[in-house]
Symmetry: C2
């Protein structure tokens, strides 16, 4: 299969209503939902109203939907379903890992310099509450040269308890070598340093086998590259790391109960970190979205197609005189970040707004200042060519 | 308006598809959604796909929807919209209050004996982590005699930092005198004891003026008595209590940022306790549900109607020889709890299952062991009579 010949692309794209009236390049912000996912949500609401909404029958159905979703996601991630926690979003997953460790004053928490501001703020609150020292290591500079594993190794300390990195950096699109990072952190000192991975950009983009990578905590969402509804994601906690991680935000889903309904302990599996009532209709929606991707091809095939397309976009952008791509080699992911004209945030913002007016959806990034275009496996080459032509027409503003 | 003469009841009920094929008495578990709420969710999904899903336009719309929902809920609760945090459910709201206080070893946390098991488990984890002493005071026994305020007063200590009570006890339906409880806790000692109120059963049932009640933390959900979708609720934190309460689970919605996109502090209002991406379509759904209730009558009128109907149900149940109502006086809420036959959990469970088979939806409670029937303002008298007849027919199993 080459980048230009997948026969069913147009048919496949017709399943996504958001693709019909625009050229979409914001998959890293939110993926477009297939119609089948929207329909599944609607059908779930109708079913729950018809059979409940609160009834023995609906309660059994909710348990089943949750289990089916965990099993479908577990296949996508290469993990046992029992290690999965369903969450509302990536940040909840990161917070579960951050707040559940037994922090001691003097512990060290190491962040990359490309983590999402919400996670950075959470790490600093951990620091304030428990006297933990938070430092940042410069991975952004390894986009085109140097080795992120060496940088991380240089910043580990005997007191380091946790490292937070993204599998794919949301600003530059760099894919971090997770296997080597895990090996470093688990073997650098007598007590393994645990690693929390922000997987916002990797789940649904990369083919994954987390079990083999020896990951500790892997927090993701269904609404970006998996194209599910906003409001449902997950957290993988390895069976080993689970022993170290207490539940923090706690509700009826976290616990086991006795015959009086009183709490007796934690759920044995990943559901101990789940809290309470969610919109279960979203589980049906995300399951449907997963099915659409599988009907197109394996995770490996989808990723290869993404790379073909991001390379095409990167090459075309490099041909434009007013554009500088952040990467000097073809992208390793579906994220293509570039700078325009005088390279100020204001110019990038005006540029993205002008493109939105013309039906091209991209976003700005503030650090490093750039514009980010994402391609998914179902992006068409025609869209890429149209985007490049639109950028050429806009010039430098 | 009397219990029997509201002219538009049948028309009003037709807005709720769940009411068409059953007799529904589980409002305390989950309220039925009006069709307009289901439609609003669907329309929001369609809109977001058409205009995004991730775009400048959709981002502006999401901010607006959130603000409109906060304003609509603020009216319902009698608070400024700026004091409101949108959450996924009641438990998240309770956890925000529990984990955000500056706990010290030796502090005391007082719970009533009627709190939901998830909240009890969260309190015990606070105890374990910070060396806080958790004790329980017996409010269940004040259902028919005695004074909950006196019981609470007897259990306060100089070291008490937080009291957790429900505004309406989910098991017995008792309404606690919140004004008097707040007065007690805020004046019993030099430093006010803060009160976290589990409002799962009160929001959408009681007419509320929280500002006048001097409440600290009030955690609620939209999916029970407000009949909105599961997955969206809220937390009220008074402006005064906000000074004491740090954000714990933290994401991009919690923070302010500088020109580089780096975190600089907390949002000035209740949104500092919000975390990250949610299903914003649910905001449209809950707004629509609130509109349906307001079109029927004021909060005061709805509550009076609930009392008329719960008194009717309570009276009819008292006439049945195999039934014992927990309350010896007419209920103060829409929750009517009663025991059947030999009064064992197994009998109650069989009884509820038998009723579900016949299209009557109720639930069991384990402590105290009972069956709970809920009436809303739009419950029909015919449903109540049919339920009573069905219970009579089933006998004692």
């Amino acid at each position: 299969m080459t980048a230009s010949t997948h026969p069913s692309l147009n048919v496949h794209r017709q399943q996504f209503p958001a693709l019909a009236n625009k050229a979409y390049f914001n998959f890293g912000g939110q993926g477009p939902m297939p119609q089948s996912a929207i329909n599944a949500i609607q059908q779930a609401h109708h079913y729950m109203q018809q059979a409940g909404p609160f009834s023995g029958e609906v309660n059994r159905w909710v348990v089943q939907e949750g289990q089916q979703l965990r099993e479908a996601l577990a296949i996508e991630l290469g993990i046992p379903a029992s290690t999965l926690t369903l969450t509302e979003d990536v940040s909840i997953g990161c917070n579960i890992a951050l707040w559940g460790l037994d922090w001691r004053s003097g512990d060290h928490l190491l962040l990359s310099d490309c983590e999402h501001p919400g996670i950075v703020a959470a790490a600093h609150e951990i620091s304030r509450r428990f006297g933990v020292e938070v430092t940042v290591c410069p991975l952004m500079a390894t986009l085109n040269q140097g080795d992120p594993v060496t940088v991380l190794a240089d910043h580990l300390r005997p007191s380091t308890r946790l490292v937070i990195v993204s599998h794919i950096l949301w600003n530059t699109g760099q894919v971090l070598p997770l296997r080597e990072i895990m090996q470093l952190c688990h073997t650098a000192q007598a007590t393994p340093v645990r690693v929390l991975v922000d997987a916002a950009q990797s789940v649904g983009m990369l083919p994954l086998d987390l079990d083999a990578l020896d990951v500790d905590f892997y927090a993701f969402t269904g609404h970006k590259w998996l194209c599910g509804p906003a409001g449902v994601g997950g957290l993988y906690v390895s069976a080993d790391a689970r022993e170290l991680l207490r539940p923090t935000f706690i509700g009826w889903r976290s616990i086991t109960k006795n015959a009086m309904g009183h709490p007796t302990g934690w759920q044995p599996d990943g559901s101990r970190y789940e809290i309470a009532t969610s919109d279960y209709a979203l589980y049906s929606g995300l399951k449907a979205a997963l099915g659409v991707h599988r009907s197109w091809g394996t995770g490996e095939n989808r990723y290869r197609r993404i790379l073909d397309l991001s390379q095409l976009l990167w090459q075309r952008l490099r041909d434009l005189p007013q554009v500088v791509c952040l990467r000097t080699a073809p992208p390793e992911s579906g994220l293509v970040s570039f700078q325009i004209g005088d390279c100020t945030p204001a110019t990038h913002e005006r540029f993205v707004q002008a493109l939105e007016q013309q039906g091209f959806l991209l976003r700005t990034i503030l650090d490093p200042t750039c514009v980010r275009a994402c391609v998914h496996y179902f992006t068409s080459e025609a869209e890429i060519e149209q985007l490049v032509a639109a950028i050429q027409n806009i010039g430098t503003l």
